[in-house]
């Protein structure tokens, strides 16, 4: 939402927007009151992105201008089903240390699990650098998504949708495997010191004029490792 920019709008602009948003008494409010009312209206979050000339689609700020209902009635708009008939599970890499998992139980499977008092688990398998780990994450029958922590490494992760009672387990669906992120420099920290020049070349691609490095967990971890080496 383009709310940070609201602070730079003029009084008449703010009044126009407030009026469109149905804020009462907007015609008698002063600038600060209007800003506050609008911010409250849109429940601005502290971490909301700054207004940014690089943000796309600014010319169609329909929601911000209270135009959210404008596209009502487009032909072909239908409700999507809450769930589909199949039991299945999917795993998607979200970033270098997290994967997003979502699943569906068919009505038949869901009924059977409920009727037999079984519990639902996500059975996660991670194979990294020749070692395999398994762990179980309990889930509720009504859940349908989860974020899973994953490590760096040469290998993969997969997740199975499982139900069970006691020690007995039944696998309902298995996701496709996702490949883990495996950065060279996180497994060759011994080379760091010897590659000082190369390391500086790497960072020169990523640094802003303020000295900030591009926002990325792997880069942060590499920089941290290098600093440790520096101290030694």
């Amino acid at each position: 939402m383009i709310l940070v920019n609201i602070e730079s709008l003029s009084l008449s602009e703010l009044r126009n927007i407030a009026e469109q948003e149905g804020i009462s008494d907007s015609d008698v409010m002063d600038r600060d009151e209007l800003v506050e009312a609008l911010q409250e209206k849109y429940e601005e979050e502290d971490d909301a992105p700054d207004s940014d000339t690089n943000t796309r689609y600014l010319s169609g700020i329909t929601d911000f201008r209270g135009m959210g209902n404008y596209v009502e009635g487009l032909p072909g708009v239908v409700d999507l089903p809450d769930d589909y008939a199949d039991t299945e599970i999917h795993l998607v890499l979200r970033n270098c240390l997290w994967a997003y998992c979502f699943w569906t139980f068919s009505q038949k499977d869901a009924d059977e699990i409920a009727d037999t008092g079984r519990s639902v688990y996500l059975s996660v398998t991670i194979m990294a650098d020749g070692k395999t780990e398994h762990f179980e994450v309990p889930a509720a029958l009504g859940d349908n998504e989860w974020n899973l922590s994953i490590p760096y490494g040469n290998g993969w992760a997969e997740v199975s949708l499982v139900s069970g009672k006691g020690d007995e387990r039944r696998v309902h669906a298995v996701s496709k495997r996702i490949q883990l992120i495996d950065p060279y420099w996180l497994r060759h920290e011994d080379e760091m010191k010897a590659s000082d020049l190369l390391y500086r070349v790497y960072l020169s691609l990523l640094k802003t004029k303020e000295g900030a490095v591009v926002e990325n967990q792997v880069v942060e971890d590499i920089v941290e490792l290098f600093r440790k080496e520096d101290i030694r």
Binding site: A48, V92, E145, N154, V218
Partner: protein
């Protein structure tokens, strides 16, 4: 010699609502045409006519080229421009009486609008012809991207969908420009291991990569991103130089943020009386941008200064000098590290220049002119870099993008993750349809091709991006539901072995995209 690959990416989602007399989101196209695509072409043609031998790369996405070559949308753009010119004429008069500080800019906007409209008509309303001519003269390298700009890493478990996005994108480019694209802009710089092979197998020579792709790769790089990266399939990758692009791109300290630049947000559409701007905003009385903006960035304050064009242009010239200095300085620093003739890949969204950053076109103009005067700077294209050079890194690049945190968090967060279960199911069902109905011609073939179009349009990265940015969320969500709903119409009908002919004719009429669509691209047996 410092080699500079300046690569712009022009993309807009497919928005075409002829069922409405005017549709707000169609302005994305019209504003970009008037403020970026046409002025950029004017600038590049002028340089060419002056005999300046620049090299420059630009990607026009398949959805954008479809809209730019669409007759009814071209007609609507004429209407939009006529409205803009009419308002400009009023503004020229108004600013003689009030806000006289704005008069010169009102005149400038009006003249630019008239010139742009003339050029549009001169190109036969298809500005892509102008860009193609520049490509024929070896000034511009034209590249393409995924059919609907899908963020590909999220769909890697659906190889048929990846293939359909890639092949349809390439086919659209060839149909429109008459030549195969050698370069492929990865939507959102989204790369995953294996994507290179899909591109390479389909005749692509290169793609751009996120800036952290090199330091985070599985192999050790020798050139740190300053030479092309040869990916396992043989495809070349060109890592974006964040240190140089951020001098422009940074929303905090980039050149566009300069306080003397024109402010993007303050527009007469929002502050002049409704009775005056009424005919030029959205009915009924919904205030939108008109393009007439007279204030400078100034700062985060209500009291914006009036924009001073000459001052801003002087500042732009200084920014260009600073940029060239930064490139040269960086080249010298790299030479001391043993890297000679570095290649700097400067990748930007095209719409930043002119549309969001008013001075951006002038910046590019001066940058190309001044750069060509410098003995130690050469503008190249990635294809030229590949043909000219024999130095490159062999790298296995991990999954990455230019999004938040460098991975998929922008397109996969709490606001938009729900869409993937629906799109994934549609993709599964599309594959199922290719098996159940192979080699269908005539009506069923058209029905299945329409299903393919709908699922491709649902995959566009724009919808989850809008949900993440919280800009036009309702529109994005409805578009997504619309496409998936349409896909479901085909799926349910085909499950009953019937074709809803009336629906098909309407659907084909409303989304006139990918006329050479081939639903068998989704056949897993034909991968």
């Amino acid at each position: 010699m410092n080699k500079v690959n300046l690569i712009l990416h022009a993309h807009l989602p497919y928005v075409r609502h002829l069922e409405y007399p005017k549709f707000l989101e169609e302005n994305w196209l019209f504003e970009s045409l008037n403020e970026t695509y046409i002025p950029l072409l004017r600038m590049l043609e002028k340089l060419d006519m002056e005999g300046l031998g620049y090299h420059f790369s630009i990607c026009f996405s398949p959805t954008l080229v479809t809209m730019l070559t669409d007759g009814p949308l071209q007609e609507r753009f004429i209407d939009y421009m006529n409205g803009r010119i009419e308002l400009g004429e009023k503004e020229v008069e108004r600013t003689l009486r009030e806000e006289t500080e704005c008069h010169d800019m009102a005149v400038r906007y009006l003249e630019d609008a008239r010139t742009n409209l003339e050029m549009f008509e001169r190109c036969g309303r298809n500005i892509l012809i102008g860009y193609r001519n520049l490509a024929d003269r070896n000034r511009v390298e034209l590249l393409t991207t995924a059919a609907t700009h899908a963020y590909l890493p999220i769909y890697k478990s659906h190889p048929t969908a990846i293939k359909a996005q890639v092949v349809t994108g390439l086919k659209t480019h060839e149909r429109v420009f008459g030549q195969a694209a050698k370069g492929f802009w990865l939507p959102e710089c989204g790369y995953y291991p294996g994507l290179d092979k899909v591109l390479y197998d389909n005749g692509v020579l290169w793609c751009q990569l996120a800036s952290h792709s090199v330091i985070s790769a599985r192999d050790k790089s020798l050139y740190g991103g300053y030479k092309p990266v040869r990916l396992p399939s043989g495809l070349f990758g060109f890592p974006r130089d964040w240190s140089l692009t951020s001098l422009i791109w940074s929303s905090v300290s980039g050149y566009p943020c300069d306080s003397d630049n024109r402010d993007f947000y303050r527009d007469i559409g929002y502050y002049l009386p409704l009775e005056y701007v009424g005919p030029y905003i959205h009915e009924p009385e919904v205030r939108v941008f008109t393009g007439y903006k007279y204030h400078a960035v100034t700062g985060k304050t209500e009291d914006k200064r009036y924009y001073d064009y000459r001052k801003a242009m002087s500042k732009t010239a200084l920014h260009v000098e600073n940029y060239i200095y930064s490139i040269k300085r960086k080249g010298l620093a790299l030479e001391t590290c043993g890297i000679k003739d570095p290649i700097f890949n400067l990748c930007f969204d095209a719409e930043l220049f002119g549309h969001r950053w008013y001075e951006g076109i002038k910046f590019l103009d001066l940058f190309l002119r001044r750069g060509m005067e410098c003995k130690d700077i050469a503008f190249t294209t990635p294809t030229m870099s590949i043909l000219d050079g024999n130095e490159y890194d062999n790298l296995y690049v991990n999954e990455c993008s230019w999004g938040l945190g460098g991975y998929s968090d922008t397109w996969l967060d709490a606001s938009n993750s729900w869409i993937y279960r629906h799109i994934g199911k549609a993709l599964d069902r599309m594959e199922e349809l290719t098996h159940r109905f192979p080699d269908q011609g005539s009506l069923k073939g058209r029905f299945l091709n329409q299903a393919s179009r709908e699922v491709l349009l649902a995959m566009a990265s724009d919808w989850p991006c809008i949900m993440h940015d919280r800009t036009s969320v309702a529109y994005a969500e409805k578009r997504l539901r619309n496409h998936l709903g349409s896909f479901n119409v085909v799926y349910s009908s085909m499950c009953q072995n019937t074709v809803n002919t009336e629906w098909l004719i309407n659907a084909e009429r409303s989304s006139q995209i990918f006329p050479d669509m081939d639903y068998t691209l989704f056949d897993p047996d034909k991968l």
